[in-house]
């Protein structure tokens, strides 16, 4: 057990080192200069010289490795630095953005599950029937309609015409409904199709036949046998999209003024706010690592035969 923990810990450490360094090198290789933002050249008179001085002061002219070393040194003391733009602690900023992100993520996940599970299942169970056709058409539309358009349509319907729901801001449950619905609809299309295809796979397995021969009701066969068999690809794709679920919702956060990490990181990228970007990559790295490790663990749950093989390899 201890060995496993130590191994995992080392793996995480290497991974963190790896992504933060790549991220560090990456964002600094990208053209862009926080000095311009910091000095607010858009409104204040600044000379080239002053920009150069600032760069020197902030250490932007040092070799990349030196800069990274400095960041790392702060990082091991759990100091993530301050945003160049607002002067806030990066940790505080992320903590401020996280709740909205989590709410939005959870809300849209629920919507996604509510849509994808029934639609995907029905269209697999009634392959080629009208239900299948309808759900496939819906998922095609879901995949092809940009989320801002979807969001605007929902705002127009529920906010302007019916006046049922607030269209913006983060102020309790009601405010969460429209953004979650938009995002949930946008992401569910992939899952509808994936679940369908995966369930079809499951239903061609022999054990389904055996269960039927035992008189197990179809509903039970579905829930206890086929469904679980079909989940790994679905979960895999979910694990992969967790990053974009957190960072890729800019459009929705902007549209509904539901401020989370997605908008913050895009702003930070635009303004080349290195400390925040770095902190974000670190956070995302951890989240992605954690989620995908869980996804990997879940394979063992879904495929006990694989689990056995792996354990043996460990020994």
């Amino acid at each position: 057990m201890l060995r496993i923990i130590v191994r995992k810990f080392l793996e995480v450490s290497f991974f963190i080192l790896f992504i933060t360094f790549i991220g560090f090198a990456f964002v600094r290789m990208a053209p862009g200069d926080p000095a311009l933002t910091i000095l607010n050249v858009d409104e204040l008179s600044v000379s080239q010289e002053q920009i150069e001085t600032l760069r020197e002061d902030m250490g932007f002219n040092d070799p990349l490795l030196v800069q990274y070393g400095r960041w790392l040194l702060d990082f091991v003391q759990l100091d993530f630095g301050e945003s160049y733009v607002t002067g806030q602690e990066v940790t505080d900023m992320m903590l401020a953005g996280l709740p909205a992100t989590l709410e939005l993520g959870a809300g849209s996940l629920i919507v996604m599950i509510l849509i994808a599970l029934p639609l995907g299942s029905l269209s697999a169970l009634y392959r080629n029937s009208w239900i299948d056709q309808v759900s496939r058409s819906l998922s095609i539309i879901g995949a092809a309609v940009p989320s801002f358009l979807l969001g605007l349509l929902l705002i127009d319907l529920f906010g302007v015409r019916l006046q049922w729901l607030p269209t913006m801001g983060r102020d309790g449950f009601l405010h969460l409904l429209l953004p979650s619905l938009t995002l949930g609809l946008a992401i569910s299309s992939v899952y509808v199709r994936l679940l369908r295809s995966s369930l079809l796979d499951a239903y061609s397995q022999e054990f389904i036949q055996s269960s039927r021969a035992r008189g197990i009701p179809e509903s039970r066969i579905f829930f206890r046998h086929a469904f679980r068999y079909s989940l790994p690809p679905v979960i895999t794709v979910f694990g992969v999209s967790i990053g974009s679920l957190i960072g890729g919702v800019l459009v929705i956060e902007v549209l509904f003024a539901y401020p989370g990490l997605g908008k913050m990181v895009v702003d930070a990228i635009k303004q080349r706010d290195y400390p925040f970007i770095q902190g974000y990559i670190l956070l995302m790295g951890l989240v992605v690592f954690l989620v995908n490790t869980c996804v990997d663990l879940s394979y063992r749950f879904f495929h006990p035969e694989v689990r056995q093989q792996e354990k043996e390899n460990v020994e």
């Binding site: 022999e206 056995q308 354990k311 043996e312 020994e315």
Partner: protein, 252 residues
């Protein structure tokens, strides 16, 4: 000696030993029968021979080389000389490949290297047909998928695949269990013919003593992971047989 198994011990994680100190030899051109109760470790032994499992103790020599320690690359050259027919023909066939593609897998791999003496490679179709006919299957099965075959047909396909490259050793894990007696007779006869002609060696796992008697020169009896009895065929009914062997015989 083609195969020499010495003191092989194996256990699955956290379980009792499945193989205990198993030792035996298999000569070139010989067919060694292996019988025993279900779950006694026959298939496990077969898997160890093919190095599909790592063994805990002991060693397995193939043509004098200890295969349990060989690196994968060297193993490849040995593997073309051994084939296995698994107990479960359904799992042994890729459900997404047509029969002809599964069948040609081994041969394709060897390309020109295979020096066939029993079969003749003329064309792909011709070869597939030859193989299928050898195991009493109509040639038109070649274009079907495994799920469109009956259990017996699948099993014969796996046998055809194993003999297609005429390897030195074939491990047969209950190869004819789901064949009707006529087909079984034909297949067993084919296997015997092949062995005699090409000097092949078989490890023939079966629970059908009659089939074992027909096929093999020597028979080995396993119980709870150990070899309890080895005897020549003519001594089957002899008095100094192990009590367990006697019980097996009495059922017939």
């Amino acid at each position: 000696m083609l195969v020499d198994v010495q003191n092989v011990t194996k256990s699955y994680r956290g379980k009792d030993k499945v193989l205990r100190d198993v030792s035996f030899g298999l000569n070139k051109g010989e067919c060694l029968g292996l019988v025993g109760e279900s779950g006694c470790g026959k298939s496990t032994l077969a898997r160890c021979l093919m190095r599909m499992e790592t063994i805990e103790k002991g060693s397995i020599l193939f043509n004098g080389e200890a295969i349990e320690k060989l690196p994968e690359r060297k193993l490849r050259s040995i593997r073309k000389n051994m084939q296995i027919v698994f107990q479960n023909p359904t799992a042994s066939l890729n459900p997404k490949l047509k029969i002809k593609d599964s069948l040609m897998d081994a041969y394709d791999q060897l390309k020109g290297e295979a020096d066939l003496t029993y079969f003749q490679y003329t064309s792909r179709e011709g070869f597939v047909k030859q193989l299928l006919e050898a195991v009493e299957l109509p040639g038109d099965l070649a274009n079907r998928y495994p799920h469109e075959l009956s259990g017996g047909q699948r099993q014969r396909v796996t046998i055809a695949r194993a003999i297609s490259i005429e390897p030195e050793l074939i491990v047969l894990d209950e190869p004819t269990a789901s064949l009707d007696v006529l087909s079984q007779g034909v297949v067993l006869q084919l296997l015997t013919d092949l062995r005699k002609r090409l000097n092949l060696s078989y490890l023939f796992i079966s629970h059908d003593l009659a089939a074992v008697q027909q096929m093999s020169q020597r028979t080995m009896v396993m119980k709870d992971g150990s070899v309890v009895d080895v005897f020549d065929q003519e001594h089957l009914f002899s008095k100094d047989r192990h009590p367990y062997t006697k019980e097996l015989i009495s059922i017939f």
